[in-house]
Symmetry: C2
Subunit: 117 residues, 2 copies
């Protein structure tokens, strides 16, 4: 493929800080803060909290998207973020978002895949 | 990580059928049909059509998510679909969705990454 859209990080976190996995509110605050400070453009989002705890969310950006899904019963989170470099170079921002989300969940185990798509 | 949530396919397509990349409407019809026929649960979605053509979309499922972003100027699509196996085994459905979206865009070039997360 000639055109290379951008960097996509796909990660699994295991944490012992299980209360962070129950409700999406604080995660949304973090993401809104990142979107604002990194000058990204959100065009929509879905945050869905499951009864009994756990949440699933996607945030749609003009630059692409990010998603999170939590499994409190397994103390596990899946997260991914993909930003295209169409109008400006965003690879550093992908790393910044990954690092902030990583630190938020305070994981004891991390599995990370990086795709330069 | 002890818990293995499920399969995630991440793909880039190059097509010469550029009109499919301009507006999201027909793609949404396809996805709604797949969500229904595969008995998945949509909890929200964002479809954003850019002025001048091209679209970006995310669909949030209780089973996880899918996303698409199109670049008509490069005749290129990025697509990914991730379904967890939490309540039932969904690996086959990930393949079915991938195959349907692949056929929809009628690509002349495909790059596919499969993660068993």
């Amino acid at each position: 493929m000639k055109y290379k859209p951008g960097k996509h990080i796909i990660a699994e976190f295991k944490t012992t800080d299980n209360k962070l996995l129950l409700k999406s509110h604080s995660f949304k605050v973090l993401i809104d803060s990142l979107v604002s400070s990194l000058d990204l453009s959100k065009v929509g989002e879905v945050y869905h909290d499951f009864e009994g705890g756990g949440y699933t969310a996607v945030v749609c950006l003009t630059e692409s998207h990010l998603s999170v899904h939590t499994w409190p019963e397994f103390e596990m989170i899946t997260f991914d973020v993909f930003l295209s470099n169409y109008l400006k170079e965003n690879d550093d921002k992908v790393e910044q978002i990954f690092n902030s989300v990583h630190d938020y969940f305070n994981p004891i185990e991390v599995k990370r895949t990086t795709l330069n798509r």
